[in-house]
């Protein structure tokens, strides 16, 4: 089945065209014109200023200003500088980067090359999660085409600008999506995150100054340089400009990808674009941005999908992975699945995370079995609070937040399990 977003915009409008994945087909659609223009007329510092002014925020989960991140790279050539493309998309509910690589690998490469020009990076490592064989194959094929055409290598587009791209395949570890876990993995080690500081811009891949950006983030860049800051800011909100590709999964009639402006309301995404829940069902809760982000209950879906609005509801845009649960769903069972995942994927470096993820899972499974005690709810919240802000990376926070969110909005589900000593949701998915 061809995986094309149900609604498209500038990122995905040509994804139905098979030729768009090839260099010739990409150029036919105007591809590589932005790079050509940048190399001819825009000095690196001006590219960074343009991306800063565009307000582009990283699309990998944290939402940091891309232009700012680039500006942290040291100037000068004493040390080689690197870019890393984080293509380790592993956040449950997220599947946009996969399609961006499969259907538009040259759009990604053009964004990378413009970023390399701006930051003075000599080389880019694209780290693709190991399970993404097809996307990695597509990117490798595009890289080979770009070398053959002279868009990569010693003289990019015959300019005095060298850039090389290396594609590395991961081997199955969620933590390698964390940028310093990724850097460790790239260096041939266990993917255990590093302490910050130093930040990657000072000490990144192989000890050199490095900028790490998500796949989608790079893909916006050629459009910003081609059409300008004003055009980019005409979509999205003032603080969160541009489009993004939302992935909608779970209990909806039309799951899949939807390219839409940031700030599109969550209820519009769920009910209009994704067709709402199956006939006769009601939405119970929606995780708005990948599994690490706290859930919102049905009556709070009237929120624009941008961090400045989602934060007011104690959640975040994350990776834009929208997970819909209807009224059959047991939120304790959801907590079992979520906590098991984080327990399994904790890299084990930090005690709070290694032990905390295990305890949270043990307690929610006990509650689900009907063996929970009233005080278990307080223990859960206590463990979650102790996991926040205490560890080398944000994984521990990401494990605590969804459990806190479920208890904030669906405490009644937990209490019924304890009181009735069984799961009161017979129609829920089996564990």
């Amino acid at each position: 089945m061809l995986k094309v977003p149900h609604t498209t915009g500038y990122l995905s409008e040509h994804f139905a065209d098979d030729a768009f994945g090839t260099l010739v087909g990409y150029e036919r659609r105007g591809g590589y014109a932005a790079l050509r223009k940048v190399l001819a007329e825009v000095p690196p510092a001006d590219v960074i200023e343009t991306v800063k002014a565009s307000g582009l925020q990283g699309r990998g989960g944290a939402g940091f200003s891309t232009g700012m991140k680039w500006s942290f790279m040291p100037k000068g050539d004493e040390k080689p500088k690197y870019l890393v493309c984080n293509a380790d998309e592993s956040e449950p509910g997220s599947f946009k980067d996969r399609i961006l690589m499969e259907r538009g690998p040259h759009q990604l490469l053009e964004g990378i090359l413009i970023a390399a020009w701006a930051t003075g990076a000599a080389k880019t490592f694209i780290y693709v999660r190991g399970e993404y064989k097809e996307p990695a194959d597509q990117v490798e094929r595009a890289v080979a085409e770009a070398y053959a055409k002279g868009y990569l290598g010693a003289r990019v587009m015959k300019r005095d600008f060298r850039h090389d791209v290396v594609v590395q395949r991961g081997a199955g570890a969620y933590i390698c999506g964390e940028e310093t876990g990724l850097l460790e993995s790239l260096e041939g080690k266990k993917g255990q995150p590093r302490k910050k500081q130093p930040f990657p811009a000072q000490y990144g891949a192989f000890g050199m100054p490095t900028t790490v950006n998500n796949v989608e983030t790079f893909c916006h860049v050629p459009h910003i340089l081609a059409r300008g800051v004003e055009w980019f800011r005409s979509s999205g909100t003032e603080k969160s400009p541009g489009n993004t590709i939302f992935g909608v999964s779970g209990h909806v009639q039309r799951p899949g990808l939807f390219e839409l402006p940031l700030g599109t309301r969550l209820d519009e995404i769920v009910f209009e674009h994704a067709g709402g829940p199956p006939p006769g069902r009601k939405v119970k809760g929606v995780i708005p941005g990948g599994m690490s982000m706290p859930i919102l209950p049905a009556h709070q879906l009237d929120v624009p999908m941008a961090n400045e609005f989602l934060r007011e509801r104690k959640t975040m845009l994350g990776t834009g992975g929208v997970m819909v649960m209807d009224d059959r769903t047991c939120m304790v069972r959801a907590a079992c699945v979520i906590s098991w995942f984080f327990r399994d994927e904790s890299c084990g470096q930090c005690t709070q995370c290694r032990e905390g993820t295990g305890w949270m899972n043990k307690i929610v499974e006990r509650i689900e079995r009907g063996a929970g005690e009233p005080r278990d709810l307080e223990i859960l919240l206590d463990v979650a609070a102790k996991m926040e802000g205490q560890t080398i990376c944000a994984f521990s926070d990401a494990a605590a937040w969804p459990i806190q969110g479920l208890l904030r909005h669906f405490r009644g589900d937990f209490e019924r399990h304890v009181a009735e000593r069984k799961c009161p949701f017979p129609e829920c998915f089996e564990l």
């Binding site: 089945m1 995986k3 080689p80 998309e89 592993s90 956040e91 449950p92 509910g93 997220s94 599947f95 980067d97 996969r98 999660r129 190991g130 399970e131 993404y132 064989k133 097809e134 290396v166 590395q168 395949r169 991961g170 081997a171 199955g172 570890a173 969620y174 993995s185 790239l186 260096e187 041939g188 080690k189 266990k190 993917g191 891949a205 192989f206 050199m208 992935g247 909608v248 999964s249 779970g250 209990h251 799951p255 899949g256 990808l257 995780i287 599994m291 992975g321 997970m323 819909v324 649960m325 769903t329 959801a334 699945v337 979520i338 995942f341 399994d344 994927e345 998915f429 089996e430 564990l431």
Partner: protein, 155 residues
């Protein structure tokens, strides 16, 4: 078990892409596993020699990642994604039904060594659930009959 000359040449080509040789270790493990099916202690020792590491340095990398194996594997791997987006669309029921179809528990190889059926964490197919990854290939929007046919067709 030894690394063939051809694989060795490909490993050297990978190492050359990185500022430090060890950057080539994950690519090398993928190559060795493609050749031998798993990374045995003797292969790890040979790799350690190439990368000027101790064998334990290689084995700790092997054991950290789900996709590297330190023991012989059945001929085929089939994984059903059972993370939340897939679970909401019946993936766990599908896995249980496939277990009973094959007469094995998840994670246990079939007695004839043909296949291991297991579960995997989110594979980035959330909008196309339930799904299975079989020998690296994604099969999406599955129902039980399709999934059984796919497993039964593996030799």
């Amino acid at each position: 078990m030894v690394i063939s000359d051809e694989t060795r040449a490909r490993i050297d080509a990978e190492i050359a892409k990185y500022p430090r040789p060890r950057g080539g270790l994950l690519p090398a493990l993928h190559l060795v596993q493609a050749e031998h099916g798993f990374v045995s202690p003797e292969l790890a020792k040979e790799l350690a020699g190439i990368f000027e590491l101790k064998p334990v340095d290689v084995m700790e990398v092997v054991s950290f990642y789900n996709m590297f194996f330190d023991r012989p594997q059945p001929r085929h791997h089939a994984y059903v994604c059972t993370n939340l987006p897939c679970a909401l669309r019946g993936a766990r029921t599908l896995l249980r039904q496939l277990e009973s179809h094959l007469g094995v528990h998840s994670g246990e190889p079939t007695p004839d060594g043909r296949l291991v059926l297991g579960h995997e964490e989110c594979l980035g197919a959330c909008g196309y659930a339930p799904m299975m990854r079989v020998d690296g290939v994604y099969h999406e929007d599955l129902d039980l009959e399709q999934a059984k046919r796919i497993l039964d067709s593996l030799e």
